[in-house]
Point group: C2
Chain length 139, copies 2
Amino acid sequence: MSDLLQRLRARGWRLTAQRRVIAEVLDGEHVHFTADEVHARAVERLPEISRASVYNTLGELVALGEVLEVTTDGRAKRYDPNAHHPHQHLVCSGCGTMRDVRLTDDPLAALPEEERFGFAVSQVNVTYYGRCPDCVAAS
Amino acid sequence: MSDLLQRLRARGWRLTAQRRVIAEVLDGEHVHFTADEVHARAVERLPEISRASVYNTLGELVALGEVLEVTTDGRAKRYDPNAHHPHQHLVCSGCGTMRDVRLTDDPLAALPEEERFGFAVSQVNVTYYGRCPDCVAAS
DNA sequence: ATCCTATATTGGACTTTGTCCAAGTCAAGA
DNA sequence: TCTTGACTTGGACAAAGTCCAATATAGGAT
């Protein structure tokens, strides 16, 4: 993630304070923040940053393929900066925490041609649900 | 779906006009309505039915396992009465319509033990995305 | 058949999540 | 340092869904 700003500049992005702060917030392993969580953390470093800029920037990062958008239940979308290593998610149905996981097979291959109904299938989302060790112990 | 009302009565449900109409709307193959779509169709038969009752009833049907709740990216939840035949979904990224699809392999098997991190994994959701024939033709 | 009451329904206020826009600001090339 | 088009801002707006107090009713009891 540290060279994200380099890549963005190479694509003609203006490097504003807001974008830098948002990139910093998204830096790290196993980060799965909602837009509001990103905004809350960004505000700590740049108090005047607006919600609109967070939404704009996250949307642009998703469009560029630098960040993945993950929707689990009907709640807020989460943003996953680990976009360059294909992976899926394992979500705790108790507390909602999320882990990145890797599958043995490409899930696109599990959808046979006769089940595609003429769609140009381009993407697949696989999400596993279960109780995490903490939630199992607590019950 | 026709014996749904029987099962619900066996579970102590009151059979109100509202619940009957909602069950009728959900009857059929490949039905994937949003709550608002269910409401719009229910109103045709029972003009005074409220949005709150639709949300209440759908939530109860989901809790009973009679209907599945499907959340796709950023859109309204959809309700799938085909709860007794395991299947996955194929969603058009253009218009949001949805098809039931069946996979060749059980996706639970694709998550190896060392990627489960001690979770008691119980469920998996697989959703494919692509443009449907209509949306491909229109672009 | 009528009454009774727990359960269901209703409309509207409210919340959450996200989008849109006109006006002001600023990064970076000239 | 100047200029300009891209970026940011706050606030209004919208969609989806929840919550609640008041009202209505299904279905068992009488």
